[in-house]
Symmetry: C2
Subunit: 296 residues, 2 copies
């Protein structure tokens, strides 16, 4: 039996496991196609290949299923929605690696809302098909480069401007309106929300896909001094009002809100590419979560 992937595993034991599993795969002449890896072995491999140190208090735990289950296929995605789970079933892939929660709250606490009927129905589907869900959030951002910001920069055609470890990048001057249009086109987003002078010139960009929280978003604008802040989502009473006031005070600070899921999706797409050659015996498929909203 493999231990559950949680922070109760002491570091020494974890390293020991690695040498028996993932590390052993390549070194000990593992041949693809005839060996079924377990969930635990895949997780170990990701951490080893990513040179990732264990994070003590991470949300990146198994949300459903067991670490000892043999993996029949891997789906990467942003949110393990019902659609994504159905796609996994179609692909006969029983292991979903998702960037965001399965149960509608950061810690995936199933008791967050009492008698949650939607959650109950979702769990029944997951149990029936023995789907294992691993949240891959903190480790994903800890990769060098951060898989999400790198994946987004790459998909936006900014790979040459991207510097590992830096929040901001400098691109050739473009108007705020053109930048918003470019992001819609390159990332495949139907609509975005913008604050600022659409004609203002943008060259320095603070790229913060996902939901970093108002304090970090506002702090990034104050310290990085970008022309424009790009986020996945925000609290309107925090970052949006700060940017609105900044512009009313004559400071040219643009803001583009992409939507959470679509803002980080290129990161999990990139992660699938990263993972694929490391697991030649297992099919790794990226399934997009897409924007949940219809804009009317």
């Amino acid at each position: 039996m493999y231990p559950e992937f949680n922070h109760s595993i002491p570091r020494r034991k974890f390293i020991g496991d690695l040498s028996k599993t993932a590390a052993g795969l390549a070194v000990l002449g593992w041949q693809p196609g005839h060996l079924s890896l377990t969930v635990q072995q895949v997780m170990d491999l990701v951490l080893k290949e990513g040179n990732l140190s264990r994070i003590a208090d991470t949300v990146d735990t198994l949300k459903t299923g067991h670490a000892a289950q043999p993996v029949t296929g891997i789906i990467t995605t942003m949110f393990p929605t019902i659609n994504v789970i159905q796609e996994a079933i179609k692909h006969k892939a029983n292991f979903i690696i998702a960037h965001e929660p399965a149960f509608y709250n950061h810690k995936d606490d199933k008791g967050w809302v009492k008698d949650n009927g939607v959650l109950r129905q979702k769990l029944a589907m997951i149990d029936k098909h023995q789907i294992v869900i691993w949240r891959f959030h903190d480790y994903c951002h800890a990769l060098q480069p951060d898989a999400v910001s790198y994946g987004v920069a790459r998909k936006a055609g900014w790979e040459r401007y991207y510097k590992t470890g830096q929040l901001s990048l400098t691109i050739p001057a473009i108007s705020l309106k053109q930048l918003a249009q470019h992001l819609k086109t390159s990332l495949g987003i139907s609509q975005v929300r913008v604050i600022g002078d659409l004609a203002q010139s943008c060259t320095r960009i603070a790229l913060m896909p996902g939901a970093w929280g108002g304090q970090r978003q506002v702090n990034a604008v104050e310290t990085e001094k970008p022309d424009v802040l790009i986020v996945g989502e925000l609290s309107e009473w925090e970052t949006a009002e700060y940017i609105r006031d900044a512009n009313l005070l004559g400071q040219k600070k643009g803001l583009i809100v992409l939507g959470h899921s679509v803002s980080e999706e290129p990161g999990m797409e990139y992660f699938a590419e990263w993972l694929r050659p490391k697991l030649p015996g297992i099919k790794v498929t990226h399934v997009s979560s897409n924007d949940p909203f219809t804009w009317l």
Copy 2:
């Protein structure tokens, strides 16, 4: 000198103040037009006329200025943006009663982000014009009826369906798409985000303008069992994903996201109407904060 309006004022002293100020206004034959009320007197009057018990740990404190300052005019609004402050200056009104924070975080902590240049510029404008800002959030929702939900229901033409103290109301059947269009038109909103089957019939509505947080939003859907949840804003990884999954699982649960500021604005508009006849000597003007976003 009047004490600052904060929770360090003992209840007995507060009641004593009331009897000297607001309560005295009507009873003791106060004549409009020749007496300048202080900020403290106006706040006391609001609490007295609203039958509001003091809330121990409220965010409804003075964010700028002093309680002893004589009031030259009152502006009600959702967010005390730079625009709203400029309007106040134009109206020669030095007292802004705002539903939401002035400084981009719930507690209006000025040190939330270090060396915040936008905040510094805003404070300089406020100081120069001696504008007093009172946040009127918790008390606003504590009014009977809750000024916000009542104000929104009234503006949407649902006054006859509104019941004080109830989160949900039942309206004549309407499709989700028509409902979204109706809210855009009646509340003056340019664009909304929707999840669900646009053709589904809606009659039971959970009306939650503003940002109640995912836990309360999801809990409301589970316990009130509405056809549609209407919110101001949400965390996408919480309520939006829950509603998306619900629909994918065959449950008809619509969601309409109005935007924070525009979703509660009718509440502060209603509050201005409520306050006006109680302060015949002071001009009370509602200034809309409006949607900060351009939708592209």
